[in-house]
Symmetry: C3
Subunit: 264 residues, 3 copies
C-alpha cells in the first residue's frame, strides 16, 4: 500500500480508534492524512460537511470519519469519490469496532448459540448498538443490564426481535453472571446522571470484580471497547476471563483487513 | 522521495493547504513532519521565528510555512538551511494556490487574452493578490468587484498597471458577468463588517447563483480557493461552469511538481 | 524500518523533541503514530496511564513518552509490551537529550578531563539533571551557576559527589567564564520569580554575550537545549563558540541510533 493515503476525519476526540486505523494503514505501508482537531479545521469557517468531504476525497484513497451526528458517515459517503469508513456516528453505529468484537469472541468460541450480555449505557452507546445489530445475524441470546433511562432504544430492540433475537433484560449483575458466555461492558458517562451520588451508586453496582466473576462460567470472556474508568476492577486484568486488551490489539489486523478490502 | 521529509509549519489554522501538501509528499513516497498547532509549539515559550526555522530546517528537507504576518516566509527562508515554500503569509502571497489556479484555468482555455474577474475581499485576500500578480505576466484584462473598503490595495493595483495590465472595476455582479471568461470568487469574512446586516447585504448581492450564471459566456469557469460559505449557491455545483472542486484536486499534482522541483 | 511504528505520547507540549524523534524514525523509513494533545486523548475520559500504555503498545513497536510527572516513563515501561523511551518526565530525566549533548561535546573535545558549567534553572531543569548524572560517569569537574532557590537539588548533588564528581558553585558568570571548556546554558522560566523585575534582574545578569565570551577559553563551546529566550544574545550565533544549532541537529542521528538499538 506504498503511497496509498487514508484520511482520518475525527470530528470528535478519539485516541484508540484513530490510532488503530493509523497503525493499520502504516502496517500496510500506507500513510495517514489527518485533519487535526475540529477547531483547526475549515468547519470552523462555516464549511458544510459535503464540501469538506468533496475536498478531502480529492486528497486521499479512503476516508475514516467520526462525527457526533448519527448518519454523518452515510451522508459523507454520498459526497465522497473514495470509500468512506464509519468510525462512529453519534449514537448510531461503530462497525469497525463491531468487527473486532466479533473477531475477539470467535477467537474464544463459536458465536452461534452463545449467551451474550451487554452492560452499561445501552441507550447512547454506539458500540453496543453496532454489536447487537451484528449479533442478530447469528443465533444468539442477548442479555441486557443498564441503568434506568439508559436501556436499549425501543426501535433497535424491535428490529433485533424482528430478526429473531431473544432479548432478556436483567436488574443486577448477579442475576445474569452465571448465564452468559460473553460479558460486554461499556462505560456509563457521568454526564448522564443528575448528580455524582446517583452516578456512583449505579457505577459501583455494575462494577465487574473478581468476586462477581467467581459466579461466572469457566469460559466466560469479559470485553470492553475501552477506555474504561471504574467499570472493571483492575484486579480483573490478571483473570483468565479478561480479554479487553487482546480485543484492543485485535483492532489492528481487523482494520488492516477492512483497508485491504476497501483500497484493493 | 522515500525517507525525504517535508515539515509543515502552520501558524494559522488551515485544513486544505496543509492536507494538500501532506498528500502531495505522501504520493511522492515522502513523509510529513507536522508542528501541531501554534499553541503546542515553542513559539508559546517566546522563541523567535528565526530560531524555530533554524531548528526545524535541521529536521527536514523542506519547510512549508503559513504565518499571519506578511513577509514571514521570506524571513524564514533567510534562516533556513533547506528550501522554504510560502503557504500564505498574512495578506501577502499564496503562490502554491496561484500555481494551481493558473493550472486549472489553462485546463479550460489559454490564459493569454482572457478576461478574468476577481470577486470578494480583494483587500485582505492573499489568494486574489497572488493570482493578480501572476496574471500580470500574461496579457489579461482584470475585472474587480468588492465591497466598499475591501478593494484591491492601491499599491498592488499600481504595480499591476505598471506591468501593463488593464483593470476594470465593477459595481455589481450583473455588470460584469457577460464580459468575463473566469469568475474567481473569494470569501468575504463577516469580521470585516460593522454588523451582521451589512455583511448579509453584501454577501447576498455577490452570491453566485444559476440565475446569475444564465447571463454568462458559455465557456465561463467559476473558481474559488475554498472553503466557501455563502458565496456560491450549492445549485451551481452541478453546472458545467463549476470548476472549484477540480481546482482543489489540482492542488495535489501541482504541489507534487513544486516538491519535485524543490527536493530534487 | 519500513512498516515499523513509533508512537509519540506527549502529555506536555514540545516541538523539538517530538519532531526530532519523528524525523529520526522517518529517516529510518518508519512511521510515527501520534497522540495529538492531552486534551484530544482518552486521559481526558479518566483512563489511567497504565491502560493507555497497554493499548498504545498494541499499536506500535516502541513508545516515546513525555509526561509532567517524575517517574512516569518508568511506570509506563512496566505496563508496555514494547520498548519505552523517556522523552522527559517532570523535573526527572531527559536521557535522549543527554545523549545528543554528550555527542555534541565529543565532536569538539574528549569529555574526560573537561570543566563543564551548567547555568540557569538547575533545580527544575531536567536536561541539566540528566546531563549532570551522565557526566558523573566521566572524570569531569562541574561548575554551577543558578539563581537563589534554583540550585541543583541537594540529593542529586550528593549522588554526583558520591560518584566522585567535583562540583564548584559560582556567583557570577564572569567568575567562571575563564575556567570552563563547555558552557551549558538553560532557560530560567519567568514563572519561578515573584515579579518581572526580579526575573529580568537575574536573566540579564546571566545573559551570554560576545563581551562575556571575550574572557573565555578559545575552544569553549556554548550549548543550549533550546528553545532559548533571552539567555543567549543572538550576536553569539555568529561566534565560533556557538554550537547550539549543531547540537539541535545532532538530535536526529543520535535518536536514529537509539531507535535502531530499541527496534532491532
Amino acid at each position: 500500500m506504498n503511497g496509498r493515503i487514508l484520511a482520518t476525519l475525527f470530528f470528535e476526540p478519539s485516541t484508540r480508534t484513530r490510532m488503530s486505523f493509523e497503525s493499520a494503514i502504516a502496517r500496510l505501508g500506507g500513510t495517514t492524512l489527518s485533519v487535526g482537531s475540529v477547531d483547526a479545521c475549515s468547519m470552523a469557517k462555516g464549511e458544510t460537511l459535503a464540501d469538506t468531504i468533496r475536498v478531502v476525497s480529492g486528497y486521499a484513497d479512503a476516508i475514516v470519519i467520526r462525527h457526533p451526528k448519527e448518519g454523518a458517515a452515510r451522508l459523507a459517503a454520498e459526497f465522497s469519490s473514495v470509500p468512506v469508513i464509519n468510525a462512529g456516528d453519534g449514537a448510531g453505529q461503530h462497525p469497525s469496532q463491531t468487527l473486532l468484537d466479533l473477531y475477539t469472541i470467535r477467537q474464544s468460541m463459536p458465536i452461534e448459540g452463545t449467551d451474550i450480555a451487554l452492560i452499561g449505557d445501552l441507550r447512547y452507546g454506539r458500540t453496543a448498538h453496532s454489536l447487537a445489530s451484528a449479533l442478530s445475524l447469528y443465533n444468539v441470546r442477548l442479555h441486557t443490564l443498564s441503568p434506568a433511562g439508559l436501556e436499549l432504544p425501543e426501535t433497535l430492540a424491535a428490529e433485533l426481535r424482528q430478526a429473531g433475537m431473544e432479548i432478556v433484560s436483567h436488574d443486577t449483575i448477579e442475576d445474569l453472571i452465571g448465564d452468559v458466555d460473553v460479558l460486554y461492558v461499556t462505560r456509563v458517562q457521568r454526564e448522564r446522571f443528575p448528580d455524582s451520588a446517583s452516578y456512583f451508586n449505579v457505577s459501583s453496582s455494575y462494577r465487574i470484580t473478581p468476586e462477581i466473576l467467581s459466579g461466572a462460567r469457566e469460559h466466560l470472556i469479559v470485553l470492553h471497547p475501552l477506555p474504561r474508568v471504574d467499570e472493571i476492577d483492575p484486579r480483573v486484568d490478571e483473570s483468565p476471563h479478561a480479554r479487553y486488551f487482546e480485543q484492543s490489539r485485535n483492532g489492528i489486523p481487523v482494520r488492516m483487513a477492512m483497508l485491504m478490502e476497501v483500497l484493493k
